[in-house]
Amino acid sequence: MTDPHADSSQSSTAEWERLSTLFEAAQSLPPESREQYLDAVCAANPKLRAELEALLASAGDAPAFLQDLAANVVAPVFDRVVSAEAELETGDIVAPIPRTGTRIRHYDVGQRIGGGGMGVVYRARDTRLDRDVALKFLSHARFADDAARRQLVREAQAVSALDDPNVCSMYAIEDTDDGGICLVMAYCAGGTLRDRLRGSLLSIDAAVRITTQVASGLACAHRSGIVHRDLKPANIGFADRDVAKILDFGVAARTIGHATTGVPTLAGTLPYMAPEVLRGESPDTRADVWALGVMLYELLTGRRPFVGPTDASVLYAILEQQPAPLERFDGAAIPAPIAQLITDLLQKAPSSRPADGSAVLARLEELQQFERDIASTSRDDEGNSPGNSAINSASNAVGNATRNLAPTRTRAWTPGAISMAVAALAVVTTISLWSYSHRSRVATVAATSLEVARTTAPLPTIAVLPFAIQGESTLNYLREGMVDLLTPAFDATGLVRGVDPNAVIGADIRPANARAGNARLDSTLAHEWGARVGASRYVVGSVVRTGSTLTLRATLYAASGEERGRSQVVIPNASDISLGVDGLVRQLVSTELRAPGDTLSALAASTTRSSGALRAYLDGERELRDARPAAAVAYFQQAVASDSMFALAWYRLARAAKWSEVDSLNRAALERAFALAPTLPPRLQSIVRAYHAVRLGSPRNAERVLRQLVADYPNDVEAWMLLGELLYETNPYAGRSSDEATSVFRTVMRLDPRNREVTVYLMELAARADRAGELDTLFTMYFSPNSAGEQPGIRRTYLALHARRIVNPGSQQTTRAASAQRADAQRADAKRAEAQRANAQLDDPATALIALRRVGADARDLVAAKAFARSASSPSAPAAARLEGLLSLASLFVAEGQIDSAMVAWRLAQQRDSGSVLVAQTLAALAPDSPVPQDSLPALHQRLLRYVASYPSEGMPLGNAALSLADQTAVLHYLVGVLSIRMNDQGTVASSARQLAKGAGRSTLASTLAQALRGHQALAQRQFAEASTALAAGMVDVPARVRMLVPALQQQVDRVALAEALRGLGRNEEAAAWRASLRDGPAVWSAPYLGRSRN
């Protein structure tokens, strides 16, 4: 390109320095003195002076000008670069090495026509054969990458083995002059299927025809043992108008039998990825079959079957939901055999799908054969024209034949399944309905009119008209009483503004009252009244009494008279009327808003009278939604400051405090919420009591309560969430799998796709189970720069722990190649790097602690854990963090067998809390294959005995003072007992057992731990049955809060012993489950018990 400034300046660096010095000096002068200054300094150099003057003239506006450019050009274009890329699905849109106009061998390179996952594709002219071809080059970022080059060659080999009209032909591999390679392929003049979809909806015939061709190509690939893995409309090209060809085998894999070879890496494009791929299993031909199903669905309807507002909701839709109903915008009916085929292609279990491309092709051909048969008969009959109607009439005519096609699988599209799918769609299309307080976020889907009104104008108004009272004249006060009750209740939702109709039509109501008696309000009159009140909605309802039971019914109308929703609540007697009102309001508002599930916000309104408190409460909920628990804590504190009886706000304060890891606040707020629970409606009472049980009481009770709640209220997000957390925290102590928690959390996600706390849990579970695809999706969603807020600690935790697990096919290979190439240099560099990185640890001990507590049992995690522990234990850290850091570090060293290092950490920790160190050392000594030398056990035993004897008068209280003295004593006696069994000191064992029995009155832990001790004794005597019963009995009853406080209460010793007892009984599977439970959950303290596989 030409340089427009080449003549204006030939400045050297020195000249720039001079220019900038003069410029700075001149700028610092008042404008009137500049002239003089320039005269003085540029006397001999008019050119310099001219330049300086021009620059000074530009200087004033320059920052504003550049800022404007940044805001209006740079940022939007960058945004578009990225989104256009996503939109066009062309992968690497940037071609840093422009090839257009160059000549490679005998090819004249023309326009760039697209890019795949790793390459850039140009149209070119083959001058020898005089035909158009497509050339695929490696993209710039991959150019120097050997792995990428090998992959390109592999692609060429894979495709050249295929000979099918519906697979894009591979002609050759050519070397380029710059040392790269390119693939020479057939040119698809007709664009891609994605292009066609961007136009209008395809006809049903065309959709089936194209799918059949793709299936044919796919069948050929599958026969040759190749799985495409990234089938989607953007990867289907058209050689001419009619022949579809599969393109881009860039991520294809070879198969042996069903399974693909090599390490499963995540490849593909989310909406087309099969459930098993997302679960991280090795994809086989049936993953392509699934993608074909998604494509066929999309071709027919213009929509994808699994959609959602976020990647995560798409992911869970794919994993767990039925496809959205198969409907075309043009209203044309989709023939049943095709619908059936889609159902079969989109079976969640690969084994239920057609096995490969050939099987799908057979189905499609069968289908078209029917079409032809019927079309010819109908032409005979009435000279019908072929086209859309052909298959339609075919399907109607061959209804019976259809069933023959797939006799066993007609069930999936029953009305039930469809209504489920409709419900799923409703969830999906209501992105931010409840997030009305998201001031910054704009709803991106078609919104209901009420919602539009909410975001663009003052709140819509709602008028409650007098209710009809049936069956009991003593209830007549409710006729207008319901108006008085419902109006403020609607108001309090913050979603609509209640208008009192009495102010406007009161004069008419009373006579009408007398006239109409207790009859139901006439709909014409209701409409008229509604219009006169001027509200945008009105409500008509009735109260019916049967025995003592009241049935409240209400119908919501738009001002136009159109019905918008109905609700019905049954209450046991009239004194529960406020409950009923609450229910009616919630149902009506949520019908209209199609709320994703019951959320607490709706209930909050009815439980406080202070509008300030309610406002603060709702702000707190918003902050929680945006994953800013610390800010939420502040708002909830504000709410309870305004209304100290606001039980729900106390409860949410407790929850937010837990999420921001403020344990003491969690406990205080929870106690308060628990005390105030009787002021709440029954369902909220159950929630608060269940949470109290989870944190402070018996998890078993909590589970019972919560299971009942979710059975009664299947859409109760909060109850599901609590249940998930409970299972998440306690399952390791119940010998149950963490999958239970996963499925509960997914339910939460489905009910409330924007719930961010649940994302955190799901991320953690996905990370533990190595479900890379799920983890990546959740991670991206949670930390997207577009997301409203985030918690830096959590973010860094996840980056530190999980970023390396996320399989990012675009970059990982590059990284790997780089690390391989640089490995040697790195080792040489290690010492230097080590020294320099000392300053570069996690700089914040609090963050390090958060990370430390979330570390999993994976070896990579344990390596990271050491870094976190070091940060937490830095001398500048708060004392408690330092203690936890040092003890963690010691535990990790023990796990690695480095007992000397562990000793140093313990010594440092001892200055702060000798008791906790003793406990930690005992735990280390009790671990299987403990590196603690056996000959040091007697000394440890002696020290522990001395400590217990002097406790608590001389010893400091153990670690966290939040554990009661009685509980602490119980823990110590239990440890003494277990260690004494190991030392075969029967006398001490007996006395420990006595002490625990004595403490049972004052400590809830004592009896649980006494059970465990009995179990250990039985095990030592090889009485396996007794041991297993005793050990399993108390395990789950330790409250979660307490468990966090003392590492010993994570009961590693007990779980290992229980596994041993079960093995002794031959119950090997259960034994394995208990052993595996040590890998579930935070792993720092379990690490020594995991068994050493290190060298």
Partner: protein, 214 residues
């Protein structure tokens, strides 16, 4: 246990984690290994794309993607929570800023090439407008303005490479003046001077050279 023990105090201070190519590359680059620099650039460039793409994969909100946030995301992804030493971090951000500029200019160049191309590709340019880049007053599209900026930057780079780097760091990477100074190994005062003059210089250049319409 089989490993020779190092004193704990030392192992507390010097954690070992060998899984970090970025640091090594940065250091080799700082030591004058230009291959390492190129390699790092390719890595960051790829990551920037991958991250931006995954952020935007579909269904994202309507908010504009913040380039600075994106660069930061790439930083976190590539360096984990352990982070880098101050100097390395600044270098890293400087590389990312360059990559951002590169992505933008490549895009602008390609689009303009298409514009000059056949009618068929002109359609895709129209599509660009459909995608939401408004034409501004005077008929200069953001794409034109971006290209003009790039041309001016190249001119600046040609005659005065250092201030151009300063602009890259400050403008495309959002680096502070001290960070820019660290990244480029020059004093803060120099950064300030360069930044002031370069802004004026660019403004003048872009004023003089109204949108090119070739």
């Amino acid at each position: 246990m089989s490993r020779p023990e190092e004193p704990l105090s030392q192992s507390l201070v010097h954690p070992v984690d060998a899984d970090e190519p970025v640091t090594a590359l940065l250091r080799q680059w700082a030591d004058g290994d230009s291959d390492a620099g190129e390699h790092l650039f390719a890595l960051v460039y790829g990551q920037l794309h991958a991250v931006a793409k995954s952020q935007r994969r579909r269904w994202s909100g309507d908010d504009t993607l913040d380039t600075t946030a994106l660069v930061h995301e790439v930083y976190l992804r590539m360096n984990g929570a352990s982070g880098l030493a101050v100097r390395d971090r600044a270098h890293f951000y400087a590389v990312a800023a360059r990559a951002t500029r590169q992505i933008l200019s490549n895009y602008a160049r390609r689009r303009r090439t298409q514009k000059r191309g056949t009618a068929a590709t002109a359609v895709s340019l129209d599509k660009l407008d459909v995608l939401g880049i408004p034409r501004v007053d005077g008929g200069a599209s953001p794409l034109d303005r971006l290209w003009d900026l790039e041309v001016a930057l190249q001119a600046l780079q040609h005659i005065h490479p250092r201030p151009c780097r300063v602009v890259e760091c400050r403008y495309f990477g959002g680096l502070s003046i001290p960070d820019t100074a660290t990244a480029l190994g020059i004093s803060e005062a120099t950064v300030k001077r360069d930044w002031m003059l370069a802004q004026a210089w660019l403004h003048r250049a872009l004023k003089e050279h109204a949108p090119t319409n070739d």
